[in-house]
């Protein structure tokens, strides 16, 4: 039995927000794969919960809006994202990234919204959502607001989400994914059921002749306390022939990141991973875009 003081099962998004207003100490639980483990460990023991687990109709599923933006319901599970036809057609890199979280049973329960709201730097969706410039739509009693993911992370495990706010949509603007191909590399000690030592996601838009990098977007997990874009590295390879860009992007990325040592890996090892994996991710992204490299 879990050490939970109370659990309220919300009947709608509005009901969940009302419940959060009513209890200033309540926490939101969605898939439960983070919250319940923290309760078990004692970190969240005795907490009161507002469950949005049953709000699939309002908060789950992926659609393409009329303007071409891709809208992901935050309650969509990792598995739901990975197998969704819209994701597979328009942003397969995001499906591939979330398909590397945990193991099959965890991916059938854990949600992409939870992965975004827990603010963890190693979250498998985070670097790709950063590279895609996702926009996070949150709702509160005062209405909705949109937060670019670049301004979302406020510190270790802290995001720009107030107590009475609920993430209701993850939007990938059409301009940020159309014409791009991407690749995510998770470096971990095990090939399943492990947390990333480093995660890197690279998106690339190639020139018409598939020889030059028109735009690259590079983002990391675990290269700092929060997920981050490597804007310096992106600028350094813009307009370069692909081979040259692959050779340069890693070194350039070293200027953007500031990883730490942890029990999982040293700072020096993470820097080596940043340098090596950035080039590999760019090369694979370019291959998927049709480059002969």
């Amino acid at each position: 039995m879990y050490d939970i003081a109370s659990i309220y099962q919300a009947r709608s998004v509005a009901d969940a927000i009302r419940a959060l207003q009513a209890d200033p100490s309540a926490l939101v639980i969605a898939g439960g794969t983070d919250v319940l483990i923290k309760v078990r460990e004692g970190k969240l023991a005795g907490c009161s919960l507002v469950s949005i687990h049953g709000l699939g109709e309002e908060l789950s599923g992926v659609t393409q809006a009329s303007g071409g933006d891709i809208e992901i319901g935050p309650l969509t599970t990792f598995r739901g994202v990975a197998f969704d036809p819209v994701i597979r057609r328009c942003i397969p890199v995001l499906g591939e990234a979330v398909d590397q979280a945990g193991g099959p049973q965890l991916r059938a329960a854990g949600t992409i919204g939870g992965n975004v709201c827990n603010g963890i730097t190693s979250a498998d969706s985070a670097s790709t959502l950063m590279a895609l410039g996702a926009v996070l739509r949150v709702r509160s009693p005062r209405g909705e607001r949109e937060v670019p993911i670049a301004q979302w992370y406020k510190g270790v495990g802290k995001v720009d989400l107030a107590h009475e706010e609920l993430l209701v949509k993850i939007v990938i603007p059409r301009a940020n994914c159309e014409g791009y191909t991407g690749h995510y590399i998770k470096y971990a000690m095990r090939s399943a059921m492990d947390i990333a030592t480093l995660g890197v996601s690279c998106l690339v838009k190639l020139s018409a002749d598939k020889r030059t990098v028109e735009e690259a977007r590079l983002a990391f997990g675990v290269a700092g306390p929060v997920p981050m874009r490597a804007c310096g590295a992106e600028a350094a390879v813009r307009g370069l022939p692909i081979g040259e860009a692959v050779g340069r992007i890693g070194r350039a990325a070293l200027e953007d990141v500031h990883p730490r040592s942890s029990w999982r890996a040293s700072k020096e090892f993470r820097l080596q991973l940043v340098e090596e994996l950035s080039g590999r991710a760019l090369r694979e992204a370019a291959r998927k875009g049709g480059a002969q490299i």
Partner: protein, 163 residues
């Protein structure tokens, strides 16, 4: 505080009083006596508590019992045939000597039920990945993989592998 949980467990409609703080694994083991559901790590890493909820394999240790309201739950107890014999998937585990201490077996069998039920054939590497959410402390993975492969092949008459 006790709440009424109504769901379908192993094909039978069930109504049971549960404490909302109980995991689905607690409910199945303690309230319904379905002890094939093992509690191993209790943090969603070992897969010993795997059951199917509406046909999908999940770790029942990190799934609240109250979330099962109205859902269909399947455990190993629900697999035996009408005559009381083992299901073909269970038999494959026996034939391939895929059971050592047996603690991880029910969970892996439930993942195998989902895998076989998908109606697809898989490469060995794909199967490896599909059962990667299970830990076997006896480290008998080769025979487990053989058993899952056999179950998939037998179910779809793909004996001898893909053409």
């Amino acid at each position: 505080m006790i709440e009424a949980l109504q769901c379908t467990v192993n094909g039978r409609a069930v109504e049971v009083g549960i404490d909302p703080r109980e995991s689905l694994a607690d409910v199945l083991r303690e309230r319904l006596g379905l002890t094939s559901v093992k509690k191993g790590c209790e943090v969603g890493e070992c897969g010993a508590c795997t059951v199917l909820v509406d046909g999908v394999a999940i770790d029942s240790c990190i799934y609240l019992g109250v979330w099962a309201q109205g859902k269909r739950i399947l455990t190993v107890e629900g697999l035996q045939t009408e005559s009381g014999e083992l299901s073909p998937i269970q038999r494959a585990f026996v034939e391939e000597a895929a059971v050592q201490c047996g603690f991880c077996t029910p969970g892996i069998i439930m993942s195998a039920v989902e895998i076989v039920g998908s109606g697809r054939q898989y490469t060995r590497d794909e199967l490896r990945r599909l059962i990667s959410g299970h830990l076997c402390r006896c480290t008998g993975y080769q025979n487990i993989l053989n058993a899952v492969e056999r179950a998939v092949n037998e179910a779809h008459k793909f004996v001898g592998g893909a053409e």
